[in-house]
Symmetry: C2
Subunit: 252 residues, 2 copies
Amino acid sequence: MNKELKKVNKNALNPNVSVDCVIFGFDLEKLTVLLIDRCRNKRDKGIKLALPGNLIYTNEHLDQAAIRVLDELTGLKNIYLEQVGAFGNPDRISKDSDREWLKSIRAEPEASVITVAYFSLIKMPDYLPQASSFAKTAGWASVSEINELAFDHFEILQAAKEKLKQKIKIQPIGFNLLPEKFTLSQLHRLYESILEKPLDKRNFRRKIQKLEIITSLKEKQRGVPHKPSQLFEFKEVRYQELTQNGFDNFGF
Amino acid sequence: MNKELKKVNKNALNPNVSVDCVIFGFDLEKLTVLLIDRCRNKRDKGIKLALPGNLIYTNEHLDQAAIRVLDELTGLKNIYLEQVGAFGNPDRISKDSDREWLKSIRAEPEASVITVAYFSLIKMPDYLPQASSFAKTAGWASVSEINELAFDHFEILQAAKEKLKQKIKIQPIGFNLLPEKFTLSQLHRLYESILEKPLDKRNFRRKIQKLEIITSLKEKQRGVPHKPSQLFEFKEVRYQELTQNGFDNFGF
């Protein structure tokens, strides 16, 4: 155990405040999210899948706590996380299976806990989640196929999706989700999967071109079973500029 | 522990979670914010002004807690509040004057507290703040003239201002801040005071007209010491529509 960790362990847990992380990825077809399986043995009942999350320490910065908890449960390190918001419905821990599970891992399982949710967009292939702590396994699930999660995590996932939909209206997206070189179809599919609706192909391409955030490469796809498509990459300076300032079309 | 005691504990204060409210108004010249003076007697030292805020109850919904606390401290009832985010820097209660003050009002003054901030926009003349609880007085201050506040409230105010600046880019604003009938100069001044920069008058008017959110009345200002200006009102249906959907100029 290194010094850093010892220092953290000295501090007491804040029994009333937790953090949860919504980590979005994109498998070139569907929007995905990182979940942990908290199932301890095969006889455990109830909902097994949850967002990676845990209590914070009393002297820990909320943002730091989110980064630490994500690392501890999934092995993802130093991820840039943005706040979604705080969730404080007193009924958020009302399912029997959630209460039973908390009894097995927490010193004060009956304490009223509000949680602060964070979200991030990451390139999936860069990271192989390494489950540890109380996470038995960690892995990616297709967002559209998730119908329930532990605690109020389904509600939190919806709020994070909504935040992403808002973000896409005022900022470019894709740099953290797509491979360095990508096709227009892949970018198109990314927007469709975030917005959860089909987008007209020509219209989409015209709008993307107008933003001037991508540039075509003198390179095509290789090893694909169909006619290879043109590859593109993001213009980083322009992309960052629009990320900073937003599309800001009203122009103030 | 018997049932009775458990029940009592459920209604106890959550020592680790508070809410704070940033209530913006507009006095037709400047953006204002509602503050409380927590000064108990003239000999009290340190920063006296703070945002209205307090601990939540353990069995209380966060959003409900914010509405309750605002009411208790300022008499403002049933205000629609939107979340700004959670603030959890462990140093947020580090000023001596803040610690002293907490000792005088809290059962666990040393507890580590994260706070969830909310904000709202209201018409100033509709409400005369009625201070009570630990607020000695409550009143409106010009946002641009505030240099310090208790705890991390200055930081929270900045975050709420930033949220407002973002909001103005994707939604119309003014319905909750201006009188029912207003002049274009007043609307112009509102945008300038939120964005904290001068806006070209002609350009601003052209953009507002393009949004189709206001309609001119067959009425002019009365009793003003200058040439009376044309009065306008918001087109409520169109305004609500744009509030719901945003300007959405990227068009997805």
